[in-house]
């Protein structure tokens, strides 16, 4: 009887654990990282990074135990102009041969309902700065193939000079707005 009770307790613990902290792998096909920069102050030019990877863990009971890890392949940037893409990839801006990836690793997470303030280290061109990413959780549920999915939208404003992406200052404004939407598949 004691063994049966212990077995039941372990089974319940085992069932309950994933509901507390679940880890999701980022689905690159449903992940978008867009960037917006002023062009001479005339307009806002937009671009995107096509290759985004990483994972996030959500602890439903204790949000502070949640975490986010993102990796962006900077070489995958796209701005609808081949010449501009090449310029942005080159030594004047992202210098992708020297710095192929940009990363974000969370250090603290606060939640208020579906809104998350994710503080973490953003590393671009080898320069690490602490930033706070505002994320809003969207729907959670199973896709037609029974994979559990959830996703977030969020945004962040950075100063490109802080990360050494300081080419052509008057042409490209210092403030860069990043908007991202990430969808994860439960591991």
């Amino acid at each position: 009887m004691k063994f049966a009770s212990l077995g039941l307790a372990l089974a319940l613990t085992g069932l309950a654990a994933p509901a507390l902290a679940q880890t999701f792998a980022i689905d690159n096909s449903h992940a978008s990282v867009l960037f917006f920069a002023k062009h001479f102050g005339f307009s806002t030019a937009a671009g995107r990074f096509n290759t985004v990877g990483g994972e996030f863990t959500i602890d439903e009971k204790d949000a502070s135990k949640s975490s986010v890890k993102l990796e962006i392949k900077v070489d995958s940037l796209e701005t609808n102009d081949a010449k501009r893409n090449e310029h942005l990839r080159g030594p004047d801006f992202f210098d992708v041969k020297q710095f192929p990836s940009a990363t974000f690793q969370s250090t603290a997470v606060k939640a208020s309902g579906d809104n998350y303030d994710v503080t973490g280290d953003l590393t671009i061109k080898g320069v690490k700065k602490s930033v706070t990413l505002k994320l809003k959780r969207n729907a959670t549920g199973e896709d037609p193939w029974k994979n559990l999915r959830t996703g977030f939208d969020g945004e962040l404003v950075i100063n490109r000079n802080d990360f050494g992406v300081n080419g052509l200052p008057p042409v490209v404004g210092p403030e860069i707005k990043l908007w991202l939407s990430i969808e994860g598949i439960k591991k």
Partner: protein, 306 residues
Amino acid sequence: MDAVTELKVQTVLALAGAPLLTLGAVLAVGLWGARRASQPARPGLLAAALALSLAVAWGGLVGYPTAFPPVDRKLWVPALALAVPALFALVDRSSKADRLAVIAPLAALTLLGSATLVFAPILGGEYAPADRVGFGAALALAAWLSLDRASRALPAPPALAAVCFSALGAALAAAMAGTAIMGQALGGVACVSGVASIIAWRVPRLTLGAAGVAALLTPYLATVAIATLYGELPVTAAALFLIAPIGAATALFARSVVPATLLAALTAAVIAAGGVALTRQAETAKAAQAAPAEPAIGNPTSYDQL
């Protein structure tokens, strides 16, 4: 001031204003001091003025290191622009030394050491294979020794003019290849060496020496290499730009300063023009292969029209 005017003012100040002010100030103070002491100008004066003004130009256009070692390896260049001429100044001080026996290995070690510092993250990999780096270093060494020989046998203007026209061509090609800032940095080298050539023509007691050659070539060669290995400057064009300062050697055939300078400038310009032509050809081919952007409606502008 609107953003377009700000861009023009910033570029002119960084490319020419601050470097030329530095060049003029160092030479004026040095020559004034030498005049007071009734002595000829110190051999390292022109080298010091070139090293400082080129470091100011490069730092102003690309950036100065904010950490040691610099996270962005390109930012070694301003430090090297000062340190390498200081090293070669030691050769200038030792008049008894067999110069070639000292200069050749020292220049080779400097080139390989600088390449290791600036290109460590990609050295030996897909973007900077060892054979390509070795070939480039060999060409750079040939240019270095040739410029050193010309600077010993002739007054300073021919060597300065050869570097000026080499840098001018490389600046155009780098900008065409999509690295505008490296183009501006090379423009800074062209501007400083061109003005220094005119000053050295008017003030013949200014000599280059081994330190002056190092001051000219360190930022020039490093920027060409960065535009190629971190950027997209075609390798064939880069080879011509690395070797273009060899044009200074043709000045050895002329008998006076002005024809010697013109000959050196012309030879370097012809070699550099070959590099520009190769870059243009490569860019045209690349544009033909590139996937077209989404079609514009109405009156389209291209990124080249920035």
